[in-house]
Amino acid sequence: MFDIDRWNEIWNALAKNKVRSLLTAFGVFWGIFMLIVMAGSGNGLQNGVSEGIAKFAANSAFFWSEQTSEPYKGFKRGRYWHMDSEDLQYLKDKVPEIEYITPKNFTGRFGSGSNVIRGKKNGSFNVKGDYPDYVKIDPATVLKGRWINDLDIRDKRKVCVIGEKVFESLFDPKENPLGQYLKISGVYYQVVGLIRAETQININGRTEESISLPFTTMLQTYNMGNQVHFLAITAKKGVPVSVVEDKVKEFIKKKHSIAPTDVQALNSVNIEKEFKQMSGLFLGIQILTWIVGIGTLLAGVIGVSNIMLVIIKERTKEIGVQRAIGATPRVIIGQIMLESVVLTTVAGYIGLSMGVGLLELVNRIIESAPTQAGDRPFFTHPEVSLTVALSALAVLIIAGLFAGMIPASRAIQIKPIDALREE
């Protein structure tokens, strides 16, 4: 196998037709290169997206009310309705599978003008009413101060937690926002915390551009009665979110006199389902990558097989002589298979290295690109795992063997006399 004569022979066979060997090798090179680049890009996309949502509670579901679409119990269709604070305890009692349940209310940005003022600075931001438990569903990093706590809720304190963009536009960079006051829609609130979102899932506006008030404070200050705009729920461990989702819908509809068959009145998003869909999408991308990659590779391998046939045709006499002076069929087959494997493996290895090199380059460019606060690239760490690289290499060697099979069997069909007779 490692006899120098053997390698000498391979080298000579390939070097005899440099251009043709190169073009053939390019087919394999391109196949594996594409495979690696595509697999890496798919991974990059997946990494980018899942880093954006990874920390979000996967076992969560969200609910919000819409107009009813069916008449029920004397109410006509098209009725506006709201969930209310009483629903929280009601749901906790009726649906024991619930782990956390938090309401969330919003005040719109009034018109196009600014709703938040601090001294001479002002801005237009989303204002949300939140519960302490909300960060257990959509985690946030507290950069300064704290998040809303139970005392804020109980005492309806006029405090607020701001996002990074809010800080940037209303404060000087070196200023400490804690203890400062913001006038939000005419009412003053003391800043108690500065947060940064850990996910890229945004509910009614990005967290960076949002101000969170204690839920109870918001109800009272903005005259919302006991309305609840939005409900976030997580399921206990081991319970599928869809089970909780269905139960919550059932009980809410019952309590608010909505037809059980009304699909429009209570809207919901099931994150678990979304995650599943997403991973399905990525699986699809991966499968496509391999199909296209293997297809391209196959074309390259067929090229190798083809050139090996040509080489054998040209070397008919040489093979005949070798057989006449004692080369067994095994020697000849081994030689041709090895040539084919060497050609594919070398070409493939170059393609593999260049593919990985390109991914690394792209990764460096992405990482060195300046990113704004909270702006994560949707495409990060494009890379292929060692497993993929190794299996690609294994595929190459196997492909090389396959490519050599037809030419090798053709070569041993050459009878020494026929080869020698060709004068």
Partner: protein, 237 residues
């Protein structure tokens, strides 16, 4: 060394069958120097191929060195060829990208002799044929006579019992032809059986026994003593 009896061989070409060898009987003793002659179509190439285990035969028996050569598979045939027969071809058939030494060493490569050892042996054989200085030259850098001497060295290196030469002088001028024949004679003097196929009478006349084939059977065997007679006849022809 070689005992052939009732040898039949026919080639099938489409619907036609060409009966080439028709019950050939042949005995060649060890140490003989034999030439096989015959016009084209007489079956001499076929006979040579069968002698060289390059081709199988249909009927009869062929013993080589006491061993029945019949229905061997390719692997066994290759090994037998490698061990028992040295081939010399008309067009030399050296491997173009191997130098003289590597070409000579090739049969030993198939015997799995180590590179160092087989190259050393190859050098000895090249030296015997006066080509030591050419050991590292490629065939393309050598003259026809030199190439044929390399081929002879290659045929000898596995120490076969018989040397089969197919028109060994066919591609050479007459001076070189006689040189090559001298070498073959020398090899024969050292006790090896040498069989050459040729259509040149003066080359055949340098061997010790001439077998003339015609239509698939032996027409005439001219032995040592009668060679002078044959030579005279050649001159008049």
């Amino acid at each position: 060394m070689i005992q052939i009896s009732n040898l039949h061989k026919s080639y099938v070409m489409g619907h036609n069958s060409l009966h080439v060898l028709k019950g050939l009987e042949l005995d060649i003793e060890e140490g003989e120097f034999v030439s096989i002659m015959g016009s084209s179509g007489s079956g001499k190439s076929t006979l040579l191929n069968i002698l060289g285990i390059l081709d199988d035969y249909d009927l009869g028996t062929y013993y080589l060195g006491g061993k029945l050569i019949q229905g061997l598979n390719e692997t066994k045939a290759a090994i037998t060829r490698n061990e028992m027969i040295g081939f010399i071809f008309q067009s030399f058939n050296l491997i173009s990208f191997k130098n003289a030494m590597e070409n000579v060493a090739l049969p030993l490569y198939y015997q799995k002799v180590s590179r160092k050892k087989r190259n050393q042996i190859a050098l000895e054989y090249l030296d015997r044929l006066g080509l030591k200085e050419w050991a590292h030259h490629l065939p393309s850098e050598m003259s026809g006579g030199q190439k044929q001497r390399v081929a002879i060295a290659r045929a000898l290196i596995s120490q076969p019992q018989i040397i089969l030469a197919d028109e060994p002088t066919g591609a050479l001028d007459s001076t070189t032809s006689f040189e090559v024949m001298d070498i073959l004679k020398e090899i024969n003097d050292q006790g090896k059986t040498v069989i050459i196929v040729t259509h040149e009478h003066d080359i055949a006349a340098m061997t010790k026994k001439i077998i003339r084939l015609k239509d698939g059977v032996i027409e005439e065997v001219i032995k040592n003593g009668d060679l002078q007679l044959f030579k005279d006849r050649v001159r008049t022809e």
